[in-house]
Amino acid sequence: MGKLRQLALQNVVPILFTVLCVSGIIAARADISLPILANDIVTRLSRNLFLVLSLIIPVVAGMGLNFGIIVGAMCGQIGLIVVENQGASGLGAFFAAMGVSIPFSLIFGWLTGLLLNRAKGREMITGMILAFFANGIYQAVFLLMAGPVIPLHNQRILLDGGIGLAITIDLIGTGGQLDRLLRPSIPFMGLPLFIPVATFIFIALLCVALRGYLRTKSGQELRAVGQDMHVAEISGINVDRTRMRAILISTVLGGLGQIIWLSNIGTMNTFQSHEQVGPYAIAALLVGGATVAHATIWHAILGTLLFHTLFQVSPIAGQILLGSAQIGEYFREFVAYAVIGVTLALHAWRTRRS
């Protein structure tokens, strides 16, 4: 009995979210279509999981939740902009965008790593502010320099004056490429349920790679640094280099994840798409039961599933329960962020207790 109670306490956040999701579905059942809900959840899993997984390595390395992932997302978008500018199309274009994003991710990830190594213990808030800073530079570069300085010439992605990128870019060449590759459907309550198998295989490969990497010597060093920097340093591990490695991996994966995300959506909000990445991926990871000090692949999968189910269900549930379209929207915001707040508070409480 005591054991069960302990288990429940340990998993209080996922349990709370499951209860919320289930009660949301029950409340909204008159207005919600289950096949659409199922399709949307599968799509959102395939769309978001890669990004959420890219957060795991810095957590293992004791750097907390990498809010700097937004920098990676920007690099992913640079890849997409370059490829769309060339007018390339197809699966090749999709992977080319990934290829283009990696060197940028490495450069900016390295700079992020330098900064975070000077801000040990405050990585999360530093990463968050860094993202605001990087956003300013990104806007300046693509609003003022795209066209005259950076040789972008495709009129489809540029503003009419030829200077600056359009606010939205329809990803004609790269959109949906990986998803369409292998997307069988199974009948589910009268409507087809599409499963983007190729995307899931890609994500599974990442899971295997992450697991494998964490078992290598380099991965073990990450763990050691994550557990205690001081002890790791004494046992001969170069702490700064190990932390740098964690951020580099996370930034590169963040860039690739953003390309998967945008390619699935099909259009890119040139100046804002990256902003939503950090908080949402982090929230999803926390919802899965991860903490700033401990995160696994399972946390990522469960968290993405629960977080996005709630996001889908709660506005409709709120609308039905409270009888107004806009209250449904406020209900969603309130519920989702309240639970995230509770997650962080619980973690602080537990750390203090132990």
Partner: protein
Amino acid sequence: MKRVSKAWVRGILLTGLVSFAWACSGGGETSDSADSSQAADDGKLPFKIGLMTGTVSQGEDEYRGAEAVIAQYGADRIRHVTYPDNFMTEQEAMISQVLNVAADKDVKAFILAQGVPGSMAAIKRVREFRPDMKFLVYEPHEDPHQIADYADVCIMPDNLKRGETIVDLAKEMGAKTFVHYSFPRHMSQELISRRAKIMEERCASQGMKFVFANAPDPTGDQGLPGAQKFILEDVPRQVKQYGQDTAFFSTNCGMQEPLIRSSADNHAIMPEQCCPSPTHGYPGALGIAISEEDAGDMGAIRQAIHEKVAEAGNTGRMGSWPVSVGMVAIEALTELAIKAVEGETGIADQASVASELQTAAKAEVTVLPFEDKQNYYMFLIESVVF
């Protein structure tokens, strides 16, 4: 042992979720079909229309427009949902809302007002399983050339032409300087940046000074409060520099209220809001309480604004459109949507769009196609000066 039990907990959570979902499914479908058969008997619309607007905190006009059409056709015929307040960053939530409404087979047309970013993606997704769905978009935020390929009809106030009419109106009100508030993200929207250029040229030809003032982005780090505070502080500065005969214009909805208030306080000129309507910014800025029975009565609201502007000693220096453009657009699009579903052809024609807008506005409306697009229209309603 610990690992195993953890896996168990996760397994139970997942199965619980899935099985509950299955269990609830029956209820949903029966109630839907019951709804539609009953509605057909009542002589109401035999189909439903999906309608997405912002919440009142984003912009009241569209929400009130939605309430008006719901009052006319019934809440069971118009499925009204709202997009997130933070629509720029919560695109996924917006797409999900559209998908969920579109899953209802009785919904035959969908009105997006406004067409916030994500609209194109949402239309593409819905058409995957509902190729017959009609999409009517008011004020698309996305690139006009791109969205016109996906939507059936797009309408928006003629923002390019307004570049000229607003400056002309400011001139008539006695302006010598024209201050244009915006920020880089807005200036990357093609129509807004083109309008700014048109305003600048028009000012030059009218012998007025054009000032481009950079304001903080309300979706940026300072948020809307930061942007509003900036406007309240900056208008007196500009008036001090250029004198009271300065006209102010801002491209952002959230900035209208502080802009109107400080224009009235400083006896400056405010020719028109970004989205012209008597209800946009004026009631909040001038402290006008709209009673329940006056909520949709534009005449009463205009009269109240007249009185408040006179009290502030700024008569003849503040203006807007006589009706709420958001409300008019939603009413007109709803009528067009009904006609489209009933099989009437040519709903995207200039003439039918113009006639529906005119009926809804009860005023003179000019409608012109955007460049060569035959389903993307821009309209203008004559101004009113308070």
